[in-house]
């Protein structure tokens, strides 16, 4: 599948969701879990199926003042594409 477009609206794939392990926030999916921290966690928290990739990049650029938006767009794209391949995210 192609990388997400600016207008894509990423969300968790069916049956994938947040969970907790101790104090830590983790992503649960069939047969596994991943720990996402820092920027990865921020990106996923913005993926509500409503916001577009463009809006997510904008929100992140505001959080990380001084961040280069085209660089952030690149990181968001490759992060979501990798999770889509694992069937954790849809867009």
């Amino acid at each position: 599948m192609a990388p997400p477009a600016d207008s894509s609206q990423p969300r968790f794939a069916a049956g994938c969701r947040w969970g907790t392990q101790g104090e830590e926030r983790v992503v649960l999916f069939p047969e596994g879990m991943i720990r996402v921290q820092g920027t990865g966690q921020k990106i996923l928290e913005l993926c509500d199926g409503g916001r577009t990739v463009q809006e997510i990049v904008k929100a992140l650029s505001a959080t990380y003042s001084g961040g280069n938006p085209s660089r952030i767009r690149e990181d968001v794209g490759s992060f979501l594409e990798a999770l889509q391949q694992k069937r954790i995210v849809d867009y």
Binding site: A14, G15, G19, Q21, P30, R87
Partner: protein, 359 residues
């Protein structure tokens, strides 16, 4: 320090409307009267969460045979567990599925016996296939992850490509292609189920090309048959290291088949906490770590990867649960596996196999 388990396998009943010839349940099945109560399971799920467990696999038998399944899923969800229902789909009208999803069900794993109606029903010993096809469309309409599970063996591997195309039409997120593993009923029927080396090699090639073709649409996981491996599998991720299983009567076992090992006694969740069972009970310590290992395992550089293989298989094939798993090419008893591979029976023998009974 013993790490916390990752997942709990809850074999909530041995009752099942199917009679699959490769069922992993023990030959001695627990009847309804032996099953533990709803309250027992609810307590176990809370204890599982407290022990750091994230995933709960509800299996059987057929878990839908328990009338309190919705309460069990609700309790597991409330305890913070990710819930996976491993099912034949028999006894799951849409309204019941809706109530299970409402209760917090995250993932449905639906088993298929074949892509074709007649051979599927013949493996299952009952007419189930057409019903499963209809049900998979219903499942896809609900917000749950959907896995199709397909058990493969000598009798169906020759049309694996057709089976993958069939699974693709059901639109699951994931397809699990599992070679029959020789415990319980599958061991009884081993000669009829054992694939040839040629079948296995074709299978690996077909799976690899399907994985590439379907990448990002349907993930394919393939469990390879250990009889053809060079080294044994790290059974259950090592004894008492990652998983624990509770049987219908509440006995806690380190794996599905551990009940066959003579001299073992398994503690029950009715008498003990999960934490005590995991950390202290004699059964979980029996083959934990490396102290029990014989040579060639004890000095093998792979001992921390495969943990000497499977204890139940070692017992079933050699009569000694402490022996090196005979599937290992370094095992002194490896000839037992070589012989079993070669005696895979011609297809005419399939008429005489043993169907799984009901408790």
């Amino acid at each position: 320090m013993i790490p916390n388990p990752l997942a709990l396998i809850a074999e909530i009943t041995h009752r099942c409307p199917l009679h699959c010839v490769y069922c992993s349940n023990p030959l001695q099945l627990a009847g309804t009267e032996a099953e533990i109560s709803t309250e027992d399971w609810v307590r176990v799920f809370q204890q599982a969460h407290d022990l750091g467990i994230l995933h709960l696999h509800l299996t059987g038998g057929e878990p839908l045979a328990r009338a309190d399944l919705k309460e069990l899923i609700q309790a597991a969800h409330d305890a913070g567990l990710y819930t996976n229902l491993i099912t034949s789909g028999m006894g799951l009208p849409e309204a019941r599925l809706a109530s299970l999803v409402d209760a917090g069900l995250d993932h449905v794993q639906l088993s298929f016996q074949d892509s074709r109606d007649e051979p599927a029903n013949w493996i299952a010993g009952t007419k189930a296939h057409a019903h499963k096809v209809v049900l998979s469309e219903v499942i896809r309409r609900f917000p749950v992850a959907f896995t199709v599970n397909l058990v493969v063996h000598r009798q169906n591997l020759d049309h694996l490509e057709e089976m993958i195309a069939f699974a693709e039409q059901l639109k699951p997120d994931r397809l699990e292609i599992a070679h029959a593993q020789y415990y319980g009923w599958a061991l009884k029927n081993r000669d009829t189920l054992m694939p040839s080396r040629e079948q296995l090699e074709n299978c690996l090639r077909i799976v690899e090309s399907a994985q590439a073709r379907l990448s990002g649409r349907m993930r394919i996981d393939c469990v390879v048959p250990d009889y053809y491996a060079r080294y044994p599998k790290a059974c259950m991720g090592g004894w008492g290291r990652r998983l624990l299983l509770i049987d219908p009567a509440g006995q806690a076992l380190p794996c599905h088949a551990a009940g066959v090992i003579p001299g073992m006694s398994f503690d029950n969740v009715r008498q003990h906490s999960l934490e005590w069972i995991w950390r202290e009970s004699p059964a979980f310590q029996r083959f934990r770590g490396e102290q029990w290992m014989p040579e060639p395992c004890r000095s093998c550089e792979r001992r921390a990867e495969d943990f000497g293989g499977c204890r139940c298989q070692a017992f079933l094939l050699t009569g000694d649960a402490s022996a090196t798993d005979p599937v290992c090419t370094l095992a002194p008893t490896h000839h037992l596996v070589e012989t079993a591979r070669e005696t895979g029976a011609p297809s005419e023998a399939k008429l005489s196999w043993s169907y799984r009974t009901n408790p």
